[in-house]
Amino acid sequence: MVAAQQIRDVNGRSSDAVARQRASSIELRGLSKSYDDVEVLKNLDLHINAGEFFTLLGPSGSGKSTILRLVAGFERPDTGSIRIGGTEVVELPPNRRNVNTVFQSYALFAHLSVRDNMAFGPRMLGWKKDRIGQRVQEMAAFINIAELLGRRIDQLSGGQRQRVALARALINEPDVLLLDEPLSALDAGLRSQLQVELRRIQRRLGMTFVFVTHDQEEALVMSDRIAVLNDGHLQQVSAPQALYERPQNLFVARFMGHSNVFPISARASDHLLTPLGRISGQFGAGSHVLVRPEAITVRAQPQGDANHFPATVSECIYRGDFVEYRMQCGAARLTAKRANRGEPLFEVGAQVSASVASAAVVLLDG
């Protein structure tokens, strides 16, 4: 664990020596890739800032791993350009790009010890033995695997292997680190722990991380910015807060787990008609509305709010730190979430009034 205080390595030097500022931006232009007539990516444009923790988020088959493999160099795009730190790299094989990958299956060399796995990249690059030895020690201390250096890979647990894979990649001081669903094989507790740790390491090193996952919660926890992909197309690229609170289309809203999504049946200059009822306000373009559960207030009587709808409570789910109400509201089913401040709960079947401010209503494209 990278703790708040300075970690000293074998030679007594502080671990700031490990944190070299080295990062590059990534520019993808017009990227297309097909496998056996299946078009996985078509004309994709994406820009990743230097030093950013950038996440590619999407369901299986959305193309997120393909993008990663193209940046790493394991695949060649059919068309398009890939610039890392301003340099075009499409023609370069992976071993000539200053990019390293943490694989989903870790891909550690079973016939080498942890130390030799970490030293692999530097050896191939021809670093001097002294420097390799020193850097291995530093990196092992930094990632907190110093006591594992002499072990063989089959003696390690899942979490330990993940750390070794990370150390093996980072020791080469790449401009960009690519991570292909590295936490998917771990159990929930370990995952949460490592999510935070990875984020800390990235901040410490100031390196550009490109992270692939299908878990939207994971993406929200770790990222500076997130790109949501579906079927090879970018759906939205935003910071976590904007992505969650202001999804731009139906796919993103559903993928982020939002439940209160309703089609707009009619619109006028000052209101919208939805299965929920009438929502006043001036809204931009869009085919659906999203009302986040946290933005809905549930009261026994309407209290002069702009948008209030009569509803019947169908379920009341007490989750300890918050309460969730599932309600039947007109033709729609509405979910509301409220922090538990000790107020009395509404019972099933109670007639209530659900209200939401117009500003909290998000418009979605289809």
Binding site: A72, G73, F74, P93, P94, N95, R96, V99, N100, T101, F103, Q104, S105, A107, L108, F109, A110, H111, F120, G121, R123, M124, L125, R168, A169, N172
Partner: protein, 275 residues
């Protein structure tokens, strides 16, 4: 299926089968120590057939030839077979190489008598036409390599299939070029498989009779050929002695292999405790 009667009858069958399996070999060893010159009467224990055997220059020459043949052919097939197995793995998605499987399995599926006589025809023809490859050691070697190759290739191939395919990409990701990948990853990972292939080839070579018989020339007698010719004239205890040695050798090698396997399966600590 857990009735006791079934259990008992299974056990009886098992022991009967074991007896059946080891009786002929046991008898060979038994008769090799038999003083009498016939196979029907056991007199007393004697080592005279072994003494005769070790004084028999022909047998020793045959043994030497078999070993050289085995080593030579195994080295070549280890190299070629590994390359072939590796190539099969790398290109296993390629549809245009589908015929490769047939080529590789052909030597495995061909009965050795067919193998032998087609080689005989081939080498005779080649010798008649071009004057090279007179039937002898070289022709045997060539034939042996050709039937050992697929086994090595298959052993190497199955080892590769068991690997995480991303390991190859991991090497490139960590800046290894083609040669470095081969030297630091592929060869170390494959070396147990290559060794297994080598031993398998050696065993196949030492054991072979029919193919060697039809591809050899005058003066090039392998041990199995020697035993074969001797038996045709009638089984003598001396032949039994030679056979017993071969049996002993095979079982010794098998025991060593088993012990090695067992040791490998132990952890380092257990190993240190044993030794």
């Amino acid at each position: 299926m857990k009735s006791r009667r079934l259990g008992v009858s299974l056990r009886i069958i098992w022991y009967l089968v074991l007896f059946f399996l080891y009786a002929p070999l046991f008898v060979v060893v038994l008769y090799s120590f038999n003083d009498a010159n016939t196979t029907t009467h056991i007199t007393h224990f004697s080592l005279r057939w072994y003494r005769r055997l070790f004084g028999n220059a022909q047998v020793l020459d045959a043994l030497k030839l078999s070993i050289w043949l085995g080593l030579g052919s195994s080295v070549i097939s280890a190299v070629l077979g590994t390359m072939l197995g590796y190539g099969m793995y790398i290109h296993r998605g390629a549809r245009r190489l589908a015929w490769l499987v047939w080529i590789v399995y052909l030597p495995v599926a061909t009965p050795d008598i067919l193998y032998g006589i087609s080689e005989l025809g081939f080498f005779t023809d080649v010798h008649a036409r071009f004057g090279i490859l007179r039937p002898g050691f070289l022709t045997m070697l060539i034939a042996h390599v050709s039937f050992q190759l697929p086994f090595v290739a298959l052993v190497v191939y199955s080892r590769l299939v068991g690997l995480d395919p991303e390991l190859f990409n991991a090497c490139r990701d960590l800046y290894a070029n083609g040669w470095q990948r081969a030297r630091f990853f592929i060869v170390p990972t494959l070396s147990p498989a290559i060794l297994a292939g080598f031993f398998l080839s050696f065993t196949l070579s030492i054991d072979d009779l029919v193919i060697s018989f039809f591809t050899t020339g005058p003066g090039n007698t392998t041990l199995p050929i020697y035993i074969w010719s001797a038996i045709r004239k009638g089984v003598t205890p001396e032949v039994n002695a030679a056979a017993a040695i071969l049996i002993g050798g095979v079982f010794a090698a098998a025991t060593v292999a088993m012990v090695v396997q067992y040791m490998k399966a132990l952890t380092r600590r257990q190993r240190n405790a044993l030794l």
